[in-house]
Symmetry: C2
Subunit: 284 residues, 2 copies
Amino acid sequence: MCELLGMSANVPTDLCFSFAGLRQRGGGTGPHRDGWGVVFYEGVGVRAFHDPGASVSSEVAQLLERYPIKSTVAMCHIRQANVGSVALENTHPFIRELNGRYWSFAHNGQLPDYRSPQREDPRYRPVGQTDSEALFCDLLNSLLQSGALALSQSALIDVIVAHCKAFAEQGVFNVILSNGDWLFSFCSTKLAAITRRAPFRPATLRDCEIEVDFKAETSPSDVVSVVATSPLTYDEGWQIMQPGEWRVWDAGELVQQGRVDVPVFAHPKPAHKKGQTPSDALRV
Amino acid sequence: MCELLGMSANVPTDLCFSFAGLRQRGGGTGPHRDGWGVVFYEGVGVRAFHDPGASVSSEVAQLLERYPIKSTVAMCHIRQANVGSVALENTHPFIRELNGRYWSFAHNGQLPDYRSPQREDPRYRPVGQTDSEALFCDLLNSLLQSGALALSQSALIDVIVAHCKAFAEQGVFNVILSNGDWLFSFCSTKLAAITRRAPFRPATLRDCEIEVDFKAETSPSDVVSVVATSPLTYDEGWQIMQPGEWRVWDAGELVQQGRVDVPVFAHPKPAHKKGQTPSDALRV
């Protein structure tokens, strides 16, 4: 089980508050010690931070908690390894360039028996050993070969949903995906979302004693949506997503949503117990 | 004109000392205020830091100067924009996955009249507007289409050199390229290199008052090579590379080198004067 966080906003917005909460789950309030990563889109550009260690004790994560990188789309993942060693190449989010745009992907779950389809000369290949990166590469290869990228955004999303449904029929597949414009999420077992807009109110994190008054930090026209594995604050109205539910946000607004039938799998056991390092850990 | 830095080592080695010097050239001792980036390879994994601001005043750069990320191959670039706005997507090094490995590329110079060859459905496409990223994508597309990736390492490097020669016939093309195993450099006008091995000695940076005693920081079997636009220290024997000279390092050792004929072009003028922000700057 890993932890996911995604953000879509209509103005460049920093992730410091949400990241401060999520970061605690990486070895503090949660057992996800096996790496973390954040991707920030700024226009069509992207900057990413990846670390194979625990976010709670990471100096880079500490910087990101206080240094406001402003972005209209961002995603974050903290990892508890099940498939693939604890190593930089297995640390989400994964990024690939597709038709001149950076696509990024973060996954919570496991497809234990997943095998990539045989393709002649696949364009995208995984660098690491996770099922997650293989799924991302297979999705991109499918989108490219099927011509789906030439479709309208909503028709493209329908194709992506069909792939997600097929993946979610093989295991736990909670996912966040973006091309820098829209933010897509698919809930296989566990995701929650919230849209913040005026009138803004204060909110308090569940995972550490930090309160923010969004009213003081925003202007009345700001719209910011956040999706996460579980609610990050305890005093706001998060919507708990149902298995098979998917959503698309663009500039903070929900622009497309739906639900498909998926089986509900149990979450996979981690490859190692809390506090232990897996034997195949590759810490460099 | 930009500044390049590359490192190849036989043991995971941090870049803090060299980066401390190079960073000063990004708005301090040098005019390269238009972004900076660093790529660290750890095994087959990669972590990158990109920032469209000046490295001398960047909080992330400040962290990297003191936080030792250990790597066997690393590269760094600080930018003075000539082609392409000051924006994250135009910030080197550029990274692409090729056959399941991350390739990275940083360029100093300009090919003012460069046009990418017409290709049907090119696999790699630039996200930003720089000639540098277009050159990198074209190089990867060529390597893929020509079957050069199936060659031995030294034959593959010969193909890469031939491409570099062709690029360097069209403008200034100083470059650093890596697939995580080897570090390749091509000198069109300006590069310098040094290999440090036992007996290690102290060294002092040119760009700020920092001295390091490599003897205290290393073990006798360590071998670390560094390539940079100009020598980073003033009390070591850097080798000044000649136009057309290229080198390949693997685990710190020089494993292949040569020289081809190239014309020597004048360095391009920056898109804006020192201290000014270009009008098309996209700072987000």
